[in-house]
Amino acid sequence: MSKTKQGTSRRQFLVKSGLGTIGVLAVGTYLFRNPIRRTIAEKLDSGESFYMGDTSSPIIWFEITTNNNIILHSPKVEMGQGTFTGLAQLAADELEVSMEQMKVVHASSISGNMDSFATGGSTSISSLWIPLRELAATMREMILNEAALKMGFSTSDLHVKDGVVSVAGNKMTYAQAAENVTEWKIPDTPILKNVKDFRYIGKPVARVDLKDKVYGAPIFGMDAQLPNMAYGAVVRSSTIGSKYIDADISKAENMPGVIKIVKEHDFVGVVAKSLIEAENAKNAIQVQWSKERNWQTADIEEMIVVGKGEPFVIQKEGDAEDILEDEKDVIISQYKSPIGAHAQLEPNGALAFVETNNATIIMSTQVVKLSRDEIAKRLDLDEDKVNIVPTFLGGGFGRRLHTPNAIQAAVMSKAVGRPVKCFFTRKEEFQNDTFRPPTHHVLKAKLSEEGMIEALEHNVSSGDVAFGSPMVPSIAAPILGADLGAWRGGMIQYRGIPNYRTVSWRVTLPFATSWWRSLGLLANTFAIESFMDELAVRLKKNPVEFRLAHIQDDTKGFRLKEVIKAVVKKSGYKDEVNNGRAMGFAASTDANTPCAQVVEVSIEDKKIKVHKVTCAMDPGISVNPDQVRAQCEGAIIMGMSAAMFEKMEVENGALTPIIYGPYQMALMKNAPKEIEVVLLQNDDKPGAVGEPPLGPIGAAIANAVFRLTGQRLRNMPLQLNNHF
């Protein structure tokens, strides 16, 4: 078994440095050829995930407490997605301990158990499915071997349950077995449990962080505190593209509570005794910013147009280009999505304590390693002298995949020689977000005489998602061409169509656009699935049957068909208006997880009202079906919020709005009163969960609204025409 494990590890290594490795290997004449790009794109779309940390020893993962609990030091952060619970389930099953004995904490960066990648991409459970169970099984064997020595039996004689070893009427806890062990021997990796023997995997156990969250434990980055802590505030630009040049601090310096004004080459900040004093002094600093163009929403909209920027073919089958070239009898529709904000409730921030030769940073981050490396570089410290202590995240959604603000907290702490806590205000959060980029889509199709799709093409123009992110090597852009985040969900999933093609147009915007939960999936699926509905309507066909007829007969196709059939059955989907309500259907495949949704809408007070959403998803094994359901429910509401309400504008160079309310989001009154989730399992391992259910919701709503009103809404956020 250890051989298998090494094999897995080796493979992980190769793929973990995937983008970089491709960079080295692919330099040559083949570099810019599209087939290679498409191969890479298909690979990235396959949903395979790999864990990118150290799995060589269980010692850095598990701790046994004297009262016989197991502490799992998780390299993945908990941001609401339920990862701590899922990982605890994986570990408990192989460790042979009860869930009550499992505690989960975040592994700090100096613990040795650091993930070199990130928490994101719906990969945490799937990437650790094998490695964590192998680590837990190995740990169990290590404990049993020690217990056998102490009890005078051989390991194979021992029985184990709930962390207690028993043999011949004697009992010994794991804690007792582990006591005084100075050197652990790591055995060959044991054979993992059979599915039928799982005690916790596949069961809806309660979240391990439930009580902390219900009783208000101080678990978030913003709750962190250290003795002698001061408060920091950094002056941030409110306009696009303006860079810090210099600042007049004369007024701020003498304000109450101010400890120090910290002027650096790239920012100015205040350290004060209280947060209010820091904010007041910050507001008294006069900053000189470099002037940029006075950007407006219209300028951005003019940039995001299919046909502008650089095109890259990311998917191609048959000869769609030629068939669709002559636009006679070609059906064309265009769709748009706006700039979206993350709007997570806990602002970005960090508590930093920098001493002479080391630094401790307590913070909400999705990228422990990147946060560490950037701070070490700026402070000129060795990376192992910078300890990132991750906290629970008050929402992640991709917002914390880059944390330059932590550098500022660290620099200010160094300047005053005491701990400094520094957070964004809400206005700063909205204006300095790494936004979901706006998109423009052109869909083209030609139908056959038999009423089938002969050729289909999806052109998408989008701001960058992955490119420009410090997580992605800069070499990736010229190699991959198309932004792998922007086209997520953009490929045609109906591979029974003889000719299809997807073209991604890359546009770099003047403000930061990056990872937003599900990346391009929401907008791409909105466009493709709205268009599929338009085609079905034109042909007077049932939209579900129309889609099923275009799905290929392979494993992927089978799984997609199954979720479609399941959602239709559960929702009682009908292509008709009934009592002022209509249903809409859409489906998507993201990271190899197919998902289909049916929504039921009516029009109330001239507005769209979503009453019920039925969702069928096949993520393979659902390690915790209750939390997979929770992710579906949350993704549906977040996707609904983005599809129906949310929109950032650019006014006179500034991103706006800057506060909840004006930045409209779904609230209790908008959330569907009924959400039904059906989970299928047509794969033998856990797949992506957190993002795939965001795919269909926008199109499903738009398709329902069309049936009810005859209005085809092709722009997000979905708004009915006034004359309705």
Binding site: G80, Q81, G82, A206, R207, D209, L210, K211, D212, K213, V214, Y215, G216, A217, P218, I219, F220, M222, D223, Q225, P256, S274, L275, I276, H342, A343, Q344, L345, E346, P347, F392, L393, G394, G395, G396, F397, F423, T425, R426, D626, A630, E633, G634, A635, I636, I637, M638, S641, I659, Y660, G661, M665, A666, L667, M668, K669, A671, P672, K673, I675
Partner: protein
Amino acid sequence: MKITFTINRKPQTVNIEDENTPLLWVLRDILDLKATKFGCGKGACGACTVKVEDDAIRSCSYAVKFAKGKSITTLEGLGTAEKPHPVQQAWIEEIVPQCGYCQPGFMMATAVLLDKNTNPTDEDLDKNISNVCRCGTYYRMRKAIHRAAEIKRAETLNTEDNV
């Protein structure tokens, strides 16, 4: 300047330079009651909701001087693991929280609503619970609020029976 109020059923005096400091920061930074969250600082998201006397207030936009002599309840004072408040009990039964950051504000808003309305309808919830949750836990929250109302009504009945 000294300001005295009752916090979670105990008298408390704070010494503060600026009486216009929002109650939120007094709770979090001076009294170390961290359950009440900062979300926006403008009373727009509800993450900082606490109970002052009989009302739900957004403490980020409520100067501490207004709390003088009043009774304040935060999530820490609502219930404990040993004796959960009906809202907390229901939140646990329905497994509501995801990231959890906005949940204290929702639970406080719910607790106040149930004090005034023992059997709220869906429309009452739509009207009265206007906090923001980015994880989208509204669906479970709605179920939990109805469940909390049910637990609370049962508790009230039991108390009356005992009298």
